[in-house]
């Protein structure tokens, strides 16, 4: 029995293979294929034996796997009487035919075309701008040769928390250069902002000046177009300036050999001209002076080889030798420097690291311009806008598809293949997208100057010089065409010709309403996301800018002073105080709120060790407290005297000292900046940084040698004349300097500059997203109304009111909108919480914002839908019904 079974097995081909083939083979060739294989198998069993025949069977089966195996019955054979004259269709002829028909179609359906072109071009224009913006930021300082080997040494201060500075102690450059051979070049540089540059008594300018080692220009690619690169920045009292500055200062004269006075104290001779700086560099100094001259200009920066202090302007750049890894320098060499130059306790505090050049633009901890995160957010928004535009396209196309069913029926009946219809549709889409893209480019060009103004950047849009832009446009076009064209194309091409011709296709045949619904939901969700974002950012910024910062900021004018000699300060102070419209005058180093404030260790009373926190120091005269109306909570204000050291702490500092009452600090000594002094009072906490940062320990003391600003509290009633008289007094004291002033509120606004830009951009994008979404809705409702004219007519004849018909249209969209809200709200909440986390003092996004967002979209959507549905509802039923 068993043997018999086996024998039987040996003459049969493998059952599984037969079964598999039966399943996948098209019915009209199934018998033939299986029969052939069977016959072959029998012959091979006789010839080679069972095993090999079995193997060959499976092999033959695998080689049969081909679309032809499962393709349905081929079209009936066509007879060619003259086989040599088989002609191939001319693809170009077909293409031009597609184009012609597409063009006619688009002209015929004007509103459809217009809606699509407008929404696509808005979306694409935004995408182009965002692309340019992202590319601009990503290209910062990428033009330097070997830029991946260039690093900046930065400082990390490890106290109770970690603080970061772009600067390093003055001796770092030399120590690194002399002690270690991993770097090819080491360049120290001090960037000094807004120095007074004088050509002659009449010609004065304010310019950023950089004091740099000769190596700096070797590390960075700022080429000299005149002058000797070998000796540039070698000799003292020389200067390099850019072409732009040369043109501005000297016009057509030859600038070489001319003299510049920097801050009146330093005279330099121009020995070289640098090529103009590219827009994409963070190193914007246009005047370079040898590093050695720093001694004459700002001795306090390089006074002594001091490892204990550093300044953010005093930076050190290196170019590593090829093959040297930054990680090695971070883990071996820089710690070695710390251990060599610091005692044990300070070696724990001062740590140095390398920052790659590519990080300089993007690291907010180290004064980078922006975070990459922001760029990707913009990228995402751009994608959203494109999606919204494509959604419009798909919705309108599928809505319109029913109307075109007859056309497609005829084409199919006349022998158009499915592929041909699909390509016909793609051609239409390409035509629309192409036109939209040209318009979008034009739009982008028009808007670019405004964007540049907003962001204070120099974006350039030139497809001829920038190879990325055309590539991006091409990719974008392809994506748009296939995203928006493929689905409707497939739907249309699938129509059954008979049904289509009879006009019996139902809505279901065009993908149903459900797809369109989900697309509309997507659109709404994107709009709501952007609206919620806009609302939250607006609220937070309003909160930051209007909130009580703990000091008086209105009607405060700040004047930078070029020279803080006691005699000058007191003359100016006296003259200003005499004016009737001036309430208070104070001199100080930094205004109450500032981004740049350092911190230093503090030792309290007779405690043996320094405290485990650091304290920020503000230097100001005794008028500071009354001028800015900062309340004193305990003790008294500091004395006018500059010689007796007195400290005024803030509440947070007292808390950090872990004292029970504010009174406990009064009269005790504290050592701050190595200087012992008496604590005379406690001031109320105020926000001395932006709302991005928490209030930390702060101390105020008089030190006239560092004063750099004068604060004037004016009566806002007569601002013009007051400013004029302030300028007169100022000119009398500082005849050679340039008079500048700013209002305190502007300063505070500047803290939120980036946030403000973000806000404006998101506002614009939200507006565009809503507009594009509404365009789509408008189109969709028009088609719905056109399809439902008869239904509406019947309803009206049967006595339906106008309002109930309006509701017929409205309820559907409100439902979709609410679904969209349910999707968008949690996402928006999460994203915005991430953003708000940047602020230590922030608003809590309440339900109100979300409700407002929904209301805005509902109202806008209903206004859009309303017009069309109103038209439909008011139409005379006789007109619509008579056509039957």
């Amino acid at each position: 029995m068993n043997r018999n079974y086996k024998r039987q097995q040996e003459t049969e081909p493998p059952r599984w293979a037969e079964r598999l083939l039966t399943r996948i083979t098209a019915p009209h060739i199934r018998d033939e294929v299986l029969g052939d294989l069977y016959e072959l198998f029998q012959r091979r069993v006789l010839r080679y034996g069972y095993t090999k025949a079995h193997l060959l069977y499976v092999l033959e089966m695998l080689l049969l796997l081909h679309p032809r195996l499962w393709r349905q019955q081929a079209r009936s054979a066509q007879l060619y009487t003259k086989p040599t004259e088989y002609s191939l269709p001319n693809p170009m002829a077909m293409l031009s035919n597609y184009g012609k028909i597409a063009f006619r179609k688009l002209i015929r359906h004007k509103s459809y075309t217009l809606i699509n072109v407008v929404s696509l071009s808005l979306g694409i224009a935004c995408a182009i701008l965002i692309f340019t913006l992202i590319k601009y930021h990503l290209s910062f300082d990428t033009f330097h040769a070997d830029q991946d080997r260039i690093y900046r040494i930065y400082t990390e201060l490890h106290t109770d928390k970690v603080t970061y500075s772009t600067g390093v102690p003055n001796p770092m450059g030399e120590a690194f250069r002399k002690g270690y051979s991993v770097a090819e070049k080491v360049g120290r540089i001090a960037f000094l902002k807004k120095r007074l540059v004088t050509l002659s008594p009449e010609k004065k300018f304010e310019e950023d000046v950089a004091f740099a080692d000769p190596d700096f220009l070797d590390i960075f690619n700022f080429p000299l177009i005149r002058g000797n690169p070998q000796t540039a920045l070698q000799d003292r009292n020389t200067a390099l300036i850019t072409e732009r500055i040369a043109k501005q200062y000297f016009g057509d004269e030859d600038p070489i050999g001319k003299l510049l006075h920097i801050d009146e104290s330093l005279v330099v001779k121009i020995t070289g001209i640098l090529q103009n700086l590219p827009a994409t560099t963070d190193f914007r100094s246009e005047i370079y002076v040898p590093f050695g001259n720093l001694q004459d200009h700002s001795p306090w920066l390089v006074e002594k080889d001091w490892w204990m202090g550093f300044n953010k302007e005093m930076q050190c750049f290196i170019r590593l030798k090829p093959g040297v890894s930054a990680a090695m320098v971070d883990t071996k060499i820089l710690p070695a420097i710390t251990n060599k130059y610091y005692d044990k306790e300070y070696a724990k505090v001062f740590r140095f690291k390398l920052q790659p050049l590519s990080d300089v633009h993007f690291n907010p901890k180290l004064r980078g311009y922006t975070e990459k995160k922001n760029l990707w957010t913009f990228g995402l928004i751009g994608l959203f806008l494109i999606v919204t535009a494509c959604v419009n396209f798909i919705n309108l196309a599928t809505a319109q598809a029913l109307g075109r069913s007859r056309e497609i029926g005829v084409r199919k009946a006349l022998g158009s293949e499915r592929g041909a219809l699909f390509w016909q549709f793609i051609t239409e889409t390409t035509l629309i997208a192409g036109v939209a893209m040209i318009i979008a480019l034009g739009l982008a060009y028009l808007v670019l100057p405004f964007v540049n103004q907003w962001f204070e950047i120099k974006l350039v849009l030139n497809p001829l010089t920038d190879a990325y832009l055309p590539a991006f446009l091409l990719v974008l076009l392809l994506i748009v065409v296939f995203c928006s064209g493929a689905y409707p194309g497939l739907i249309l091409a699938r129509f059954q010709p008979v049904l289509a011709l009879k006009g019996k296709l139902s809505q279901r045949a065009v993908g149903g309403f459900s797809l369109r619904k989900s697309l509309v939901v997507t659109q709404f969700a994107i709009s709501q996301l952007l609206i919620i974002g806009t609302l939250i950012i607006t609220n937070q910024l309003r909160y930051s800018q209007q909130a009580d910062m703990g000091f008086r900021k209105d009607a405060m004018i700040i004047l930078p002073i070029p020279d803080n000699k006691k005699s000058k300060i007191s003359t100016l102070g006296a003259q200003l105080s005499e004016m009737s419209s001036v309430e208070n005058v104070t001199f100080f180093d930094t205004p109450p709120a500032t981004e740049s404030i350092g911190s230093t260790p503090i030792r309290f009373d007779s405690r043996p060790k320094a405290e485990d926190f650091t304290i920020s120091v503000k230097s100001a005269d005794h008028q500071y407290i009354p001028t800015f109306s900062i309340p004193i909570l305990a003790g008294r204000n500091v004395n006018p005297s500059d010689t007796i050291r007195e400290y005024l702490l803030n509440e947070t500092a007292v808390k950090a000292l872990r004292l029970a009452s504010l009174q406990d600090v009064i009269g005790k000594t504290a050592t701050i900046n190595d200087q012992p002094g008496t604590i005379v009072g406690v001031m109320k906490d105020f926000h001395y940084k932006s709302f991005h940062a928490a209030i930390e320990p702060l101390c105020l003391t008089t030190r006239s040698e560092v004063y750099g600003n004068c604060g004037v509290n004016v009566n806002p009633a007569n601002l013009g004349p007051t400013l004029a008289s302030i300028e007169r007094a100022w000119k009398a004291t500082y005849p050679s300097a340039i008079f500048t002033y700013r209002f305190m509120d502007e300063d505070i606004e500047r803290f939120y500059k980036l946030d403000n830009m973000l806000l404006r951009l998101i506002q614009a994008f939200a507006g565009i997203a809503i507009f594009v979404g509404c365009l789509g809705l408008y189109g969709l409702v028009s088609f719905m109304a056109a399809q439902k004219t008869k239904e509406i007519g019947v309803r009206k004849v049967l006595g339906a009111s106008t309002s109930s018909i309006l509701w017929l249209f409205g309820k559907e969209f409100i439902r979709l909108l609410l679904i969209a809200f349910v999707l968008a709200a949690p996402l928006a909440w999460w994203v915005m919480n991430e953003w708000l986390a940047n602020f230590v003092y922030r608003i809590e996004p309440g339900a109100g914002i979300f409700v407002l967002a929904v209301l805005i979209t509902v109202i806008v959507a209903l206004l859009t839908v309303g017009f069309q549905s109103m038209k439909a509802a008011l139409m005379n039923p006789i007109k619509t019904l008579r056509t039957e």
């Binding site: 060739i29 033939e32 299986l34 052939d36 016959e39 029998q42 080689l63 049969l64 088989y86």
Partner: protein, 111 residues
């Protein structure tokens, strides 16, 4: 509208079908071909080629009665159509013309 040129392998298959006359079906063509071309050949290739020939209208096919040796399945028997004959003649004509056009001395230098 498919390309309707006669490929080289198609030509050989078509010739084989013509030669086998009334018994041209998958296995027979396969055996004949692998014998003549002296290389192993898969059923799939032959099969697809014959399908293509049929789509081009160069062969015509009919089904035989079910046959026991084939596990009770029928054969698809192919015959050459008029168009097929014409295509073959055309191909032969071109080849002959080409052969005739080869100068006597063309291959001389090869020996």
């Amino acid at each position: 509208m498919k390309g309707t040129q006669l490929g080289e392998f198609e030509e050989i298959v078509l010739l084989t079908i013509a030669r086998l006359y009334d018994d041209a079906y998958g296995v027979a063509v396969l055996e004949e071909l692998s014998e003549r071309l002296e290389r192993p050949m898969s059923l799939g290739v032959v099969h697809r080629t014959m399908q293509r020939l049929e789509e081009k209208g160069l062969v015509h096919s009919r089904f035989s009665e079910p046959i026991a040796e084939r596990g009770g399945r029928s054969k698809r028997l192919f015959t050459v159509t008029m168009a097929g004959e014409q295509a073959l003649r055309e191909a032969r004509r071109i080849r002959n013309e080409l052969w005739d056009g080869i100068p006597k001395t063309a291959f001389d230098h090869l020996t």
